[in-house]
């Protein structure tokens, strides 16, 4: 018998939404010792399914029909108090955002002890808390139990959450995107931890994710969700390698392939010999942040960028890859003077940009442009798309009518209707906004485009479209590009060369083929090993999937 079985679960949305149900007619099951991955893009209803099982849905989202059977009892028929006794004891849950999931004014140990205490196991707390912290591989459990959450890193906090969830040895663990907010190396550690604990204790796991790499890494079975419905379920190998439903096929086709050594070499050879003239050269750029200090405290210093020299030649795309805090974004912002470095030289066609005044910098603004990460924050919500795209050229003296013509052409280039000119950003989806952001940058007719994580806030299918668009534009306009990303799959797909950054320094720089095929630096190797599902090559579905 299944540990958990959901039959025909339907949750209503408040009236006035784009669909009547958040989830409709969901049926799933999880066996003891099994990992079920529920996959879908944002808005597919995967998180709502997870929360419904915990009885944690807000009042505005009522369950209208269906049953959730767990160890033989129907959870939906339980009294609130009986459900509470199950929560944390028999069914536990971990969440996406480790930074906000712990009470900031309560010690870590107390929060774990609380989980024990509310289920009548408070007597063992003093002994069990350090044990649990040790079990999730946290160093110095005794001291850690006494610290407050803000002292811990994201990965450490997620370990604490897992320790808390496992405190009472639940039969079922629900994990709602538990690694999405984490860096790739930390993500791999957490995935391994969950898998290890699950196989040791025979816990059933329902793992919610949007990432097929993660699915390939840990899933036994998969359920794919779209618009609140399950469109395909099956064993992981089946679904990953022989997807049946068109939506699943489209999603998997959008996953950037991870190149084997030969493929990558072939790809960069195909791009032909590169021109030798350098567009951008950085030498000895340093940026250090100082925080705090005041009258009596010691300031905390952070060397955000140092030892990060590179040369960008005409027409190439250089990927700047690293985890959060590696300094990749700071380096990019130093180049366009959103951040002012203390030292070093940033030579654009031989002119050092760093010492220039604001006025002297201005002509270079036309030639160096930037595309930003967050499609929702990167467009001024109070201006029309037309204004947003034309204001750059007009600032540099282009007449209004010419700027408008240019904007219309560009909207066509980024595959948007020129009728979008008079509308406001909130009327567009994330992917469309990112296209508008690209059009804004291109309106300046730049030579060098700096793209700062331009696809990391997008769903995987939209991500693929934007990447294709960037590749196409780059070829057509002969752009030089600096592409910042934390996602190695994305980097592999679009970059000619890759620079790996760690703690403010470039530790390895080489052609994409070299870096992926024969990585030299230990950190590069670690990064590559941490790509989830690296053993899985997405099947070639081209030709069978409509673009």
């Amino acid at each position: 018998m299944s540990l958990l079985s959901i039959e025909g679960l339907t949750v209503a949305l408040p009236p006035g939404g784009d669909r009547p149900h958040a989830i409709a007619d969901i049926s799933l099951s999880v066996d003891p010792g099994e990992i079920l991955c529920v996959v879908g893009e944002s808005g597919s209803g995967k998180s709502i399914t997870a929360n419904a099982m915990m009885g944690l849905l807000p009042k505005s989202l009522p369950v209208t029909s269906g049953r959730i059977r767990f160890e033989g009892t129907d959870l939906l028929a339980l009294e609130p108090e009986a459900m509470r006794r199950l929560r944390g004891a028999r069914i536990a849950m971990i969440f996406q955002e480790p930074m906000t999931a712990l009470n900031p004014v309560m010690r870590v140990g107390d929060q774990i002890a609380e989980a024990l205490r509310v289920h009548g196991a408070g007597r063992d707390a003093a002994r069990r808390v350090p044990e649990l912290l040790a079990a999730v591989n946290l160093p110095d459990p005794e001291a850690l139990a006494r610290s407050y959450p803000f002292r811990l890193s994201g990965g450490q906090r997620q370990r604490v959450m897992i320790a808390m969830a496992l405190a009472l040895e639940p039969a079922l663990l629900i994990a709602d995107e538990p690694t999405t907010a984490l860096d790739v190396t930390t993500q791999m550690q957490i995935l391994r931890l969950i898998k290890e604990i699950q196989s040791r204790r025979g816990t059933g796991v329902m793992f919610v994710t949007h990432d097929f790499g993660v699915v390939a890494e840990i899933a036994d079975r998969v359920a794919v969700m779209q618009h609140g419905r399950i469109v395909e379920t099956g064993p992981a190998k089946e679904v990953l390698n022989h997807p049946q439903h068109p939506y699943t096929r489209a999603l998997i086709a959008a996953v950037p392939g991870f190149p084997s050594g030969e493929q990558a070499t072939a790809a960069s050879d195909a791009r032909g010999p590169m021109a030798k003239d350098a567009v951008l050269v950085t030498r000895g750029v340093e940026k250090t942040y100082r925080r705090g200090g005041g009258w009596f405290g010691k300031p905390v210093t952070l060397r955000a960028v140092h030892d990060a020299d590179f040369t960008l030649t005409r027409g190439e795309t250089l990927g700047l890859v690293g985890e959060s805090g590696s300094g990749k974004s700071t380096l990019a912002r130093c180049i366009v003077r959103l951040v002012e470095p203390e030292k070093g030289e940033i030579a654009f066609h031989g002119t050092d940009l760093r010492p220039l005044t604001r006025i002297a910098w201005k002509p270079f603004r036309r030639r160096i442009q930037m595309v930003f990460q967050d499609p929702f924050a990167s467009l001024n919500p109070r201006r029309t798309v037309g204004d947003i795209i034309t204001e750059g050229p007009m600032t540099h003296g282009v007449s209004r009518s010419e700027a408008l013509d240019r904007a219309r052409d560009l909207l066509r280039l980024v595959q948007l209707d020129p009728g979008a000119m008079g509308r406001y950003p909130h009327e567009f989806s994330g992917g469309q906004r990112q296209r508008i952001g690209i059009a804004r940058a291109l309106a300046m007719r730049p030579e060098l485009l700096i793209a700062d994580e331009p696809v990391s806030a997008l769903d995987v299918s939209v991500q693929a479209q934007v990447l294709d668009l960037l590749a196409d534009i780059r070829k057509r306009l002969g752009l030089t590009m600096l592409f910042i990303t934390h996602d190695l799959r994305v980097a592999a797909q679009i970059c000619d060369r890759i620079a790996v950054m760690q703690r403010g320094a470039i530790v390895e720089l080489g052609s994409t083929a070299q870096v992926f095929g024969t990585p030299q630096h230990a950190y590069t190797k670690q990064l590559l090993e941490s790509i989830p599902g690296r053993g899985w090559t997405p099947p070639d579905l081209s030709g069978t999937v409509a673009a």
Partner: protein, 328 residues
């Protein structure tokens, strides 16, 4: 904050408080000189200005014929040795006058503050717990009503109802006149006199704290860690107390610090309505007599009270919130 860093934190805050107090003194000094007319007559008070010999003496004392920075220095030295000037009207040093009135004001504001924060937080928490239901609506309406009513008018209406119509409670002063009382009877008598003024002063701030507590509790209740607590099976009552309320108290503490200054200002109005013999009443009398020396003294003293109170709330915050660092 971990408590080993408390001394450093305290030192930083004390230094900051000292700077603020110094700035207030300078501000007072500038006001005397910004006022239209002769600074000496400002210090003496307009209505007491007739006495030319006294004015001459003031000019001598404050060095008013000397350069401005020398005058500032003389003034600073005076204030820092608690010489807040001399009330020509009352023929007494200002500090003596204030000293005599201070306990009554502290009693009034202290009582009102405790009443306001305890009742306000309780009502706000109750409203947040029953959000959208009649108890919430009732509390919200009451809070909004007191929030929109002038303090002095609440005082007058309470006098009208409880003293004039019902004759339950005295309407002015701090103790009954013409009766000899001893022991507990004195305490009771003062308590009776205190009830209406403290209620008047407290009701407005009660409204403020109730609204703030309700709003922050609803905000905190939406946060992830509250969901974590529910997910681990913490009973609802404990979720509210240990997780929501504890975090919602942080802005309340901050706000209590900011509100302190307004509480003192409100005391002037309440003491005027109820003839409560505190420094607020002293300020009102000084206002009628245009006795600026006393007014400036009251401003200085109330400012110091607020700075001291802010110091306490800062420390409290630092103890409650582990994230506070020992920096200004």
């Amino acid at each position: 904050m971990d408590l080993t860093r408390l001394p450093g934190f305290l030192a930083a805050r004390l230094a900051k408080a000292a700077v603020v107090i110094l700035a207030i003194v300078v501000c007072n000094f500038l006001l005397i000189h910004a006022a239209p007319g002769d600074p000496a007559s400002v210090i003496a008070g307009q209505s007491g200005a007739a006495d030319e010999r006294f004015l001459a003496q003031l000019r001598e004392q404050f060095g008013l014929d000397r350069p401005l920075h020398v005058q500032l220095w003389i003034y600073l030295k005076g204030v820092l040795t608690l010489d807040l000037g001399f009330s020509h009207r009352q023929q007494l040093p200002v500090w003596t006058l204030i000293q005599a009135r201070l306990p009554a004001t502290l009693l009034l504001t202290g009582t009102a503050f405790v009443f306001a924060i305890v009742t306000g937080v309780t009502l706000g928490a109750l409203a947040a717990r029953r959000v959208g239901r009649w108890a919430d609506s009732l509390i919200t309406v009451i809070a909004l009503t007191f929030y929109a009513t002038p303090l002095f008018w609440i005082g007058l209406m309470l006098v009208l109802v409880f003293s004039v119509w019902l004759e339950w409670l005295p309407s002015f002063g701090m103790s009954s006149v013409g009766v000899e009382l001893h022991g507990m009877a004195v305490v009771l008598d003062v308590a009776q006199h205190l009830l209406l003024p403290a209620l008047t002063l407290g009701l407005f701030y009660l409204a403020v704290y109730a609204r703030l507590t309700r709003a922050t509790m609803l905000e905190v209740a939406d946060q992830d860690f509250v969901k974590t607590a529910r997910a681990k099976g913490v009973p609802e009552g404990r979720v509210l107390r240990a997780h929501v309320l504890r975090n919602a108290m942080l802005p309340v503490i901050t706000f209590a610090g900011i509100q302190a200054g307004q509480l003192v200002g409100g005391a002037i109005l309440v003491e005027t309505v109820f003839a409560w013999p505190g420094i607020g009443r002293l300020a009102f009398d000084a206002l009628l007599a245009r006795d600026y020396a006393v007014l400036l003294g009251v401003f200085f003293c109330t400012s110091v009270m607020v700075v001291a109170f802010n110091l306490v709330t800062d420390l409290l915050y630092a103890v409650v919130d582990p994230r506070v660092e020992a920096v200004g």
